[in-house]
């Protein structure tokens, strides 16, 4: 497809503690590529190596071995002008107002922004009304949004977002997801990490599952998730012949409602058709997938 923006080859990061003579592995042989315009989600539990990977790409950490190529040729430090970075649980200078903070970061790109330009930038993240307030008075969601704004301030081609949705309430999550999708529609390449499957599912075009510093799976979200459907739960009301369905899977009834766990996905259409033909009313059809934990258990066993 498009141009390769991020290319990572056999990336290894080992943390050494000089006093304790201890070593711990951050990432252990990662390989992946991100193409222009892609939203790549790095998915994994805490401590899997997500933050390590993003920090190496952002130039905050140096790889022990392996290669990181950004924009085809640059080493991370020189690519800084073209990336925007949102750290995990970001924190900013509490004594500054939202406006001052963005002006400060803009100056680090050598740009002096006037009030109107700052307003525009803050409007994107919905903080226009709070621009005169100190960061110390911001809620967690607002801090995350101002973090988003500072990552965007240099108009980067690549956005690196470390756990942008963690610790937010449902409304906050929705807002950040909208922001990410907004940037996607502008053609930006986005790399972000999360430990929550549904977030990745909702936003990403491509996903990498990371565990113990190793990438277990890389692929489009559909490919990965399709194989992971455990069963389809069909909720039926007013179905007269409950015994009939047992050949398709486990049946459980609660009052008038019957739940069917359909193991074979291929038979889904056939079963639905039969239920309707026999006078049943289908309330919902939910594909139940492996939870992330189950998925990792599976990955470990592989």
């Amino acid at each position: 497809m498009g141009m390769i923006i991020v290319e990572i080859k056999s990336l290894v990061k080992i943390y050494k503690s000089p006093f304790l003579m201890k070593k711990s592995i951050g990432v252990n042989g990662l390989d992946f590529e991100i193409e222009k315009g892609e939203i790549f989600g790095l998915l994994g539990p805490n401590g899997a190596g997500k933050t390590t990977t993003l920090k190496i790409i952002g130039g905050l950490l140096k790889p022990t071995s392996g290669k990181v190529t950004l924009f085809g040729k640059y080493v991370p430090k020189e690519a800084r002008r073209r990336i925007g970075f949102l750290p995990e649980n970001p924190s900013f200078y509490r004594h500054l107002t939202g406006k001052e903070l963005l002006q400060f970061y803009a100056r680090l790109y050598g740009k002096n922004l006037n009030d109107n330009e700052i307003k525009e930038k803050l409007e994107v993240v919905g903080l226009k009304d709070s621009m005169g307030k100190r960061i110390s008075s911001y809620s967690k969601g607002m801090v995350q949004r101002i973090g988003f704004a500072q990552a965007l301030i240099g108009d980067p081609e690549l956005l690196i977002l470390d756990e942008p949705l963690s610790g937010l309430d449902p409304i906050g999550r929705r807002e950040i997801k909208d922001l990410i999708e907004g940037e996607k529609s502008k053609g930006k390449t986005i790399l972000f990490s999360s430990h929550i499957l549904s977030d990745v599912e909702a936003i990403c075009s491509k996903v990498g599952i990371i565990l113990n510093g190793k990438l277990k799976k890389v692929g489009s979200i559909r490919e990965i998730l399709k194989s992971d459907i455990r069963y389809i739960e069909i909720m039926i009301e007013r179905f007269p012949e409950s015994g009939y369905l047992e050949k398709y899977g486990e049946v459980r009834s609660e009052g008038k409602v019957i739940y069917l766990r359909l193991r074979e996905e291929t038979k889904r259409d056939k079963v639905i058709k039969e239920i309707i033909e026999r006078g049943g009313k289908i309330i919902s059809i939910v594909p139940v997938r492996l939870t992330l934990e189950e998925h990792f258990m599976k990955a470990i066993n592989e």
Binding site: Y15, L60, R80, R81, F85, P87, S91, Y105, L108, Y109
Partner: protein, 255 residues
């Protein structure tokens, strides 16, 4: 330069909100005011003691500010995780370190002017007139603390704020002593120690270069060469320290 200035201004604003700064300035005020109580026991040397005390107190409080605030300005960025959003912007290590260095210097200058203003008010109040010759001290302090600022930034590149605070204080005091030790070695013919003293004298920052307190209190002439020495020594030494600091900092990783 705009980037360095941005970081410097931000550092200055941040340190203004430090509670230590406020308490130090208040303490400085109280100490300057209390110089009056030494007058009765000074056997006719009241004016001298107020001046001695004033110029020394300004110096001591500036040293305390560098040790308590200066050694934390780098550490705070890491501790509060604000460094992540700086080092992922197109900012070089030299720009970052210089920004922090000038931010602290900005603070030092402001505090120095405030303390001197208070001190001059007191001399006006206690002695009935302002001794403008004391302004010479201001010039030498500006370069003395430029150097101490660089020492503090340099040390905090590789040690914790506590350690670098202690080391900064030590270097300040040893740096004031080496000139004196050197005289001592020559005088007493202690050739066994001369290599050590020479090492300290030429390698460690030599703060005697900036010590004009006695000359100023007694209105003795200060050679133009002493002004030039203070200027060139401080600027050269600080630049070297900042360059080395930025080199050390470029090896740093932000966990």
């Amino acid at each position: 330069m705009n980037k360095v200035l941005a970081i410097a201004q931000n550092t200055f604003k941040e340190s203004l909100r430090d509670k230590i700064l406020l308490s130090l300035v208040i303490l400085g005020f109280i100490f300057l005011a209390s110089s009056k109580i030494f007058v009765p026991i000074s056997i006719g040397q009241g004016a001298k003691i107020i001046k001695d005390f004033g110029v020394s107190m300004v110096e001591i409080f500036e040293v305390l500010i560098v040790t308590f605030i200066g050694t934390r300005i780098l550490y705070q960025e890491i501790e509060r995780k604000t460094i992540y959003s700086i080092m992922t912007k197109p900012v070089t290590d030299l720009e970052f370190i210089s920004g922090k260095f000038f931010g602290l210097y900005y603070l030092i200058i402001v505090v120095q002017f405030i303390l001197f203003a208070i001190f001059f008010l007191f001399t006006r109040f206690y002695l009935g007139r302002v001794d403008w010759y004391l302004l010479n001290v201001l010039y030498f302090y500006l370069f003395e603390f430029l150097l101490l600022d660089a020492v503090a930034v340099f040390l905090s590149c590789f040690t914790s704020p506590f350690t670098s605070g202690i080391l900064t204080l030590l270097i300040f005091f040893i740096g004031h002593l080496t000139h004196y030790l050197k005289e001592l070695v020559v005088m007493m013919n202690l050739s066994n120690f001369s290599w050590l003293v020479n090492f300290l004298y030429f390698i460690l920052p030599n703060f005697s270069v900036f010590n004009v307190k006695p000359s100023v209190v007694y209105h003795l002439p200060i050679s133009i060469n002493s002004y030039l020495l203070a200027f060139s020594y401080s600027i050269l030494y600080s630049t070297i320290l900042i360059l080395i600091s930025s080199f050390l900092y470029s090896k740093k990783e932000y966990l």
